[in-house]
């Protein structure tokens, strides 16, 4: 086994008095699509956000390609915040796609994708925009380069957001319910871009209620329930013979919604 792309060790997350994640251990393998499924409120977003250090874990560590992100923790449990520049450098290997797209409304599609190349990587305007344009071509949006987010459909906005993340050449892509705020007829275009990315061998962590996507594209499925990881395994194990009663109950709700052919 090669080094995991992301190693989550004994991750505990509390918001005030409430414990949202109860000691999660999870390895995200390199070059594969890992899916996080589970009921609403089970802690999927929180886990994903901890992986990106958008959320500070209360205990435990996140390791990206063998390097600790955010806080290191000694054997005695003493936690130490790593320097901001170190965290930024490690985080630059990760791209993140949000449920709400989070495109900057005052910049065009091209501006959104090229902004970090200019501001962070100090590329010339022309180089940055050429590279950004290539990413927009990849997600099929070259004709929308000059449009502002408000002028784009939800599916188009999410594809711009994916292009923005990809422009920085991340090794790992995190997706937090990328299609949940889209009209049903627009989810396909976003899922297709994600399928292409998976086919290229990108390491992906996908939080999604698209059980069909998880079943067909996912290579490792983890089931989270009430802040505990109840199951991690191959899709065939999850979908063909669910054993854990909570998992079975969770999948049943999707069977009821007509996803039975996928299971």
């Amino acid at each position: 086994m090669s080094l995991p792309a992301i190693a989550v060790k004994n991750l505990v997350k509390q918001f005030g008095e409430t414990t949202v994640l109860h000691g999660i251990d999870l390895d995200i393998p390199q070059g594969k699509v890992s899916c996080l499924i589970g009921p609403s409120g089970s802690g999927k977003s929180t886990l994903l956000r901890c992986m990106a250090f958008l959320e500070e874990a209360t205990r435990g560590t996140i390791t990206i390609d063998g390097e600790v992100l955010g806080f290191s923790e000694s054997a005695q449990g003493v936690r130490e915040r790593l320097p901001a520049a170190t965290n930024r450098a490690i985080r630059s290997r990760i791209g993140m796609v949000f449920q709400q797209f989070n495109l900057w409304p005052h910049m065009t599609a091209l501006g959104n994708v090229s902004e970090a190349l200019k501001t962070v990587h100090k590329m010339s305007r022309k180089d940055a925009e050429d590279l950004a344009m290539a990413q927009l071509v990849k997600v099929g949006l070259e004709s929308r380069a000059g449009h502002y987010p408000a002028q784009l459909s939800g599916g188009q906005q999410q594809r711009v957001a994916i292009a923005r993340a990809l422009a920085l050449k991340p090794k790992i892509m995190l997706f937090d319910e990328p299609t949940s705020s889209l009209d049903p007829e627009l989810t396909g275009e976003v899922l297709n871009v994600m399928r292409d990315l998976a086919a290229e061998g990108m390491t992906m962590v996908v939080v999604s209620h698209e059980i069909g996507f998880a079943a067909t594209v996912g290579q490792q499925i983890s089931f989270l329930d009430q802040g505990k990881l109840l199951f991690t395994g191959a899709p065939s194990d999850v979908f063909r013979k669910p054993r854990n009663p909570r998992l079975e109950q969770f999948l049943d709700t999707y069977l009821d919604r007509g996803a039975s052919m996928l299971v």
Binding site: P105, H106, T108, A116, L168
Partner: protein, 213 residues
């Protein structure tokens, strides 16, 4: 009513416009400092800013102007009335504009900053490139509104001896015995000025790309 009288009113309205414009700009600069202090999260900065804002929003502008005009000479600062007028209006509008700015900054969605962090922005870069432009867009309509309020409130600076549009109208009404014509003309001039401001504001607002909501 003669053209001569109307010209006098127009000339006086230049004071109204000038004093208001300068006060709004100075007020904006002070408001940036005040809102920064309030958003700093440090009591040392936010408490004085809060007191300043409470005072200038809570005390009538007329009283503020009289205080400034009468108080400063007592502590040995002799200010010309034009300065007292601008100081009074600036401090008052600064308090309101600071509240607008604070609200604008607070309502920039957290996710837009997170997406900036995820593509490698430092906090400073995210502030300059994302937070400031969006907050300014969000507060722009309120700024235009405040400009119109200040243009109208500037009629109060006559109490420190500035002969702006309202005061000129009062003087002329008294000396010509044509109050109806004179005050109607003054009202018309205010209306035109404010329509121009509102229209210009609307045009600028529409030219700003992608205002959310």
């Amino acid at each position: 009513m003669s053209l001569k009288l109307f010209e006098l009113l127009l000339k006086a309205s230049l004071y109204t416009i000038g004093i208001s414009l300068i006060s709004i700009l100075i007020g904006f600069a002070i408001a940036i400092l005040l809102s920064g202090a309030m958003l700093s999260g440090r009591k040392f900065f936010s408490a004085p800013a809060q007191i300043f804002i409470s005072f200038f929003r809570g005390v009538p502008l007329l009283v503020q102007l009289l205080l400034i005009y009468n108080l400063l000479p007592v502590i040995g600062i002799n200010v010309p009335s034009i300065v007292a007028a601008i100081v009074g209006l600036s401090l008052c509008t600064a308090a309101y504009q600071a509240e607008n700015l604070r609200g604008g900054f607070a309502s920039v969605p957290r996710g837009l900053i997170e997406s900036a962090e995820m593509v490698g922005f430092t906090p400073g870069q995210a502030f300059r490139r994302i937070k400031v432009p969006i907050a300014l867009r969000l507060t722009f309509p309120a700024l235009v509104n405040e400009a119109i309020l200040i243009l109208k409130a500037s009629s109060l600076v006559s109490v420190v001896g500035i002969v702006e549009l309202t005061r000129m109208a009062q003087d002329l009404a008294g000396s010509t015995f044509l109050p109806l014509e004179i005050f109607a003309s003054a009202g018309l001039i205010y209306l035109v000025i404010n329509l121009v401001v509102a229209r210009a504001g609307g045009l600028i607002e529409r030219s700003l790309p992608g205002i959310p909501r």
